[in-house]
Amino acid sequence: MTGVWALVGALAVAGALAVLLKVREGRISRRPAAVDLPAPVRDLLAPGVTLVQLSTTFCAPCRHAKVILRDLADRTDGLTHAELDITNLPDVAASLGVMRTPTTLALTADGTEVLRVGGVPKRDSLLEALRPHLP
């Protein structure tokens, strides 16, 4: 009988996690405190706004994020997309407070973080949020 309850519990946890992850997927957030950007990220900055996508070798959705962000950058003036593989750069992840991949940081040319997106971004809402920072 305990096994039945264990199964019910596991199914409930899976359901709750599925809802939580769906809600958080593509959510845009803004971090109040500025951080010193690690060199590998700073090296990617271009004029205008750069979308720095942090990925790892083990990240299946990173590919989908890349397709969306690259297309968005190609069609938008002043927006650049760059991908950084942090599989072997855990210090970069830690210093930026990044816990999952893909995470995308929108950074201005001077390194100021405008916003960040956890998971695969939603194209329209991301563009809307970036508008005030684009030329």
């Binding site: 199964l7 596991a10 946890v13 990240c59 299946a60 992840a93 999952r100 991949t101």
Partner: protein
């Protein structure tokens, strides 16, 4: 360790459904030998090759021919990593059941089932997304440059 080529993403989803069913049977019956077999399967896929997964062969010969062909491909590295995470939980579960620590067995099997179900239903690889967190606490995951 062999290097696998990218795969049709529907294959791993089918495989994840089968894993979910196996883990559910283990939870319901406490049949630890079945969990031990699943642990070996996880290990073969994670550490040798995804080609050793029998569910992959079932998918290729019995299911794929009935589906519309797709050009979409999924990289093997995240899939192998997910199998490795499954292996750790299944191993703890097997040891728990086999040594009489049934609660430990159930909890570990439950975690593996949650991950397999999320993978099957949503295509979401919990272990892969949490790689950065896992690596922070398990430095052995670091790959040679």
């Amino acid at each position: 360790m062999l290097k696998d080529s990218p795969v049709d993403p529907r294959g791993p989803r089918f495989s994840a459904w089968m894993t979910t069913v196996i883990l559910a049977i283990v939870l319901l019956t406490g049949w630890w030998r079945l969990l031990a077999a699943q642990t070996v399967l996880f290990a073969m896929c994670a550490f040798i090759s995804l080609k050793l997964n029998p569910w992959g062969h079932v998918y290729r010969y019995a299911i794929q021919p009935r589906l519309t062909p797709t050009t979409e491909r999924e990289e093997a590295a995240p899939l192998r990593f997910a199998q490795g995470v499954g292996f750790v939980f299944a191993l703890i579960g097997t040891l728990g059941y086999a040594t009489g620590l049934t609660t430990l067995g159930m909890v570990a099997t439950g975690f593996a089932l949650v991950a397999a179900l999320l993978n099957a239903a949503l295509g979401l690889c919990l272990g892969c997304e949490m790689y950065l967190v896992l690596r922070r606490y398990v430095p052995a995951l670091a790959r040679p440059q």
